[in-house]
Amino acid sequence: MTAPTIMLSHLRKSYAGHEVLHDISLTAQDGDVISLIGASGSGKSTLLRCIPFLEVPQAGEVAVGDINVTLDNADEKLSREQRRRIKLMRMQLGFVFQSFNLWPHKTVMQNIIEAPVHVQKRSHKEAIEEAEALLHKVGLYAKRDAWPSQLSGGQQQRVAIARALAQQPKAILFDEPTSALDPELVGEVLRVIRSLAEEGRTMIIVTHEMGFARDVSNKAVFLHQGMIEESGSPEQVFLDPISPRCRTFVNSHFERNAG
């Protein structure tokens, strides 16, 4: 039995005394595609952002592969060793943001090869070859020398996905990847994410696209007020949830999309 790709145990996170994540544990095995759903404010984005420590939880443990960081002292600063491990964990994760977060002063190609060349110290030539393959994959090879500001939202997000893939991550985390997009651009991004799921990549996706989440994931987790209220197979969570709150939430989304 190999270590799970991502393991979160007993995570707690609070802002100014208000707890937004209560004792959350979640495991992603290799090849899992987990969708995190829930109303705004349920803590799903915060949970996702805790994995690469964009938010620092107060307590609990985060593990990516065989690297783990345990937090026991709520308000103490992170130790040097903890920060070293966080950096290593980040190098093994890809993160795709809601608002793309491409670096505006770098071209598409430069955005993609930045981490491979300057963090992972791979050769420039190899990084470029891989970036070209990734750009083909997301259908944007023609834009390799464009600047982010010249691209549509959907194109920027596809570049951001290529950038995440270029790190050769063990898992990719998506934080509402289509929420900032115009409706007509959502499809192109979802198609790319779907193709990654089909390749068997490990992913955790925070999303409001219920139909997509149901189709693409093998596990769904419904968060409510910072707690996991329901989790299981997509069939269970989306079609026959035990929790009445989850049922109401899921139904209201499907009705809206159907209407």
Binding site: P52, L54, R90, N101, W103, P104, H105, E114, Q150
Partner: protein, 226 residues
């Protein structure tokens, strides 16, 4: 006509010193401005920076030059110090005053640029596993510099013109030479006008150069050209 030609030739002999002072003060001021902005990240440092900027922006450059050249030299401690060979020389005094003054303005320009770097760019850098140093040198600073470039081009021009003030401590840059020609020929209009034309050409070239650099660094950034 003959006189104008002779004047121009004489003035141009001061051009290297003008350019030398402008370049070195911008270079020194730039390094100091970067250090000031790094200092700003700490509590005490931030207080010091504000005090520094308040002092050097709030007093005339001419007084700063006089303070360094005449003021420091009147202190016995300075005259007995290691730096006296430098501080008795008008060139080093002028340069020092220009650097200190430029740093105050440049640090404010750079501060504006640094504040404009978005949280989003920084988070993207963090999740890629970059160290704080890498984030600063590869993401924060390059974005800040691009943001600050238009305002900085004013500062470059400002410093080129400011070098003329060191003529008051006997440095023979262009204005110093012009002044000496006028005092021997009394033809103030032609001489100063010639000097002004050289400054105009110089600052025009700088404006052009910086806007070319802007377009080269970020052609589609901030809607510079679309």
């Amino acid at each position: 006509m003959m006189f104008l030609q002779q004047t121009l030739v004489a003035l141009l002999k001061g051009l290297p010193l003008t350019i030398n002072l402008a370049l070195l003060s911008l270079l020194g001021g730039g390094v100091l401005a970067l250090l000031l902005n790094l200092l700003r990240m700490t509590r005490v440092g931030s207080f010091f920076c504000r005090f520094y900027v308040w002092l050097f922006r709030g007093t005339p450059l001419l007084i700063q030059i006089f303070m360094v050249y005449y003021g420091l030299g009147s202190l016995p401690a300075v005259r007995e110090s290691l730096f006296w060979p430098l501080l008795r020389d008008p060139y080093w005094c002028g340069l020092l005053a220009l650097i200190l003054n430029d740093a105050a303005y440049t640090s404010e320009i750079l501060r504006g640029g640094l504040r404009a770097v978005s949280q989003q760019s920084l988070e993207a850098a963090k999740v890629s596993g970059m160290s704080s140093y890498k984030i600063f040198t590869r993401i924060t600073l390059p974005i800040a510099i691009r943001q600050a470039l238009p305002a900085y081009s004013n500062e470059i021009i400002s410093m080129i013109k400011a070098t003329s003030l060191v003529s008051t401590i006997s440095l023979m840059e262009m204005t110093g030479i012009a002044d000496s020609i006028v005092s021997s020929t009394f033809r103030a209009l032609e001489v100063f006008l010639s000097a002004a034309v050289i400054y105009l050409i110089l600052t025009m070239l700088v404006s052009k150069g910086v806007s070319m650099l802007e377009r080269r660094l970020s052609p589609y950034y901030f809607g510079a050209r679309s």
